[in-house]
């Protein structure tokens, strides 16, 4: 797992507990933890914004670890596709 998280407070009306998700030094996503206002979704991790390949409007996850696994798989998949595109085109 190459992703790290930094807890932050978010400026939402509700759901103010969040994390910044980094891949190395690159910010790849901002997530919030859903409050009791969301009923049975309370405690789940909601993707407020994902940059690049981790963009998926409305995604949420049972745990922060599950979110990190998903984000990383998306980023890895994107890297793999770009590498394939470069391989198809040949060097240069």
């Amino acid at each position: 797992m190459t992703l790290t998280v930094l807890p932050v407070r978010l400026g939402n009306v509700d759901d103010t507990d969040g994390v910044l998700v980094y891949r190395g030094e690159v910010l790849v996503a901002v997530m919030s933890q859903l409050s009791a206002e969301h009923g049975e979704r309370e405690g789940r991790w909601f993707l407020e914004i994902g940059f690049g390949a981790s963009s998926e409007p409305g995604a949420d996850f049972q745990t922060l670890d599950a979110a990190k696994v998903w984000i990383e798989s998306r980023l890895d998949e994107q890297d793999r596709r770009v590498a394939e595109a470069i391989a198809r085109r040949g060097p240069g």
Binding site: S55, E56, P57, V82, A85, I86, R88, R89
Partner: protein, 245 residues
């Protein structure tokens, strides 16, 4: 068939959705019309107006759009040569959206009365025009899904796939290469994204080796992969002839 008639564009479009008999084709070609040149970015029809003619696109790209009170614009659909983007004005008196030329365009205006006479006399033409209107509605359904639920990359890729498939169907896109003179702002207004997002997304599509964009000409590098990326299934276009490059 009077091949010189500007209305052959309309025939080509109707042909892409139904098969017309020779007498139907002759009747379409005998419709009266007047030609108008429309400058780039100018309105052909404004919301709230009461048209007495229907327009047929002969050259260029035309869009339907709605302008919100705060000046934000949503492009509702693109139209290419052969399309009649205001066919509904035959039955709905007041325009509920506007139509503008994206590129310099030439359009033929055909009097509503003549279209009505034609569709009463030639049921197959009436069927063809109804079918075109239904396909229009199908395209709107797809656009709602596109703007509402797809990611930025999927949305932009989807619009490119659609334009390519539709231009191919009327013979206006070559093998894997087609001219799509849409600015980033127009792509943004069509996909509900910001200009910045569209710029970024176009670069990503190039980086993934799916399209090559040289100014406003798009080359499709990998049609299969582009369709897959866009979640594009041309079934909603209901084309008689599918157009794999």
């Amino acid at each position: 068939m009077a091949a010189s008639s500007e209305l052959t564009f309309l025939l080509r479009q109707l042909d892409s959705v139904v098969e017309l008999a020779p007498e139907d084709r002759a009747a379409v070609l005998s419709l009266p019309y007047r030609i108008k040149a429309v400058a780039e970015k100018r309105d052909l029809l404004r919301e709230g107006s009461h048209p007495v003619e229907s327009c047929l696109v002969l050259e260029g790209i035309v869009c339907r759009y709605k302008m919100l009170s705060n000046g934000r614009r949503q492009i509702l659909s693109f139209h290419f040569p052969g399309d009649m983007p205001d066919l509904q004005s035959l039955y709905l008196r007041t325009m509920d959206h506007s139509i503008a030329a994206i590129t310099p365009a030439r359009v033929a205006f055909i009097p509503h009365e003549s279209v009505r006479t034609l569709i009463r006399a030639q049921p197959s033409v009436a069927d063809a025009l109804s079918r075109s209107t239904m396909i229009d509605a199908s395209i709107y359904r797809e656009w709602i899904a596109n703007v509402g639920r797809r990611t930025a990359l999927e949305r932009v890729a989807h619009v490119i796939c659609e334009c390519f498939a539709r231009l191919r169907a009327v013979g206006l896109a070559k093998l894997r290469t087609f001219e799509l003179p849409l600015s980033q702002m127009e792509l943004a207004d069509a996909t509900g994204l910001s200009n910045v997002h569209v710029n970024r997304t176009m670069r990503e599509l190039r980086r993934l080796g799916l399209v090559e964009t040289n100014s406003k000409v798009h080359g499709i590098v990998d049609w299969e992969l582009l369709q897959e990326t866009a979640d594009f299934d041309p079934a909603y276009l209901h084309l008689r002839r599918q157009a794999p490059p």
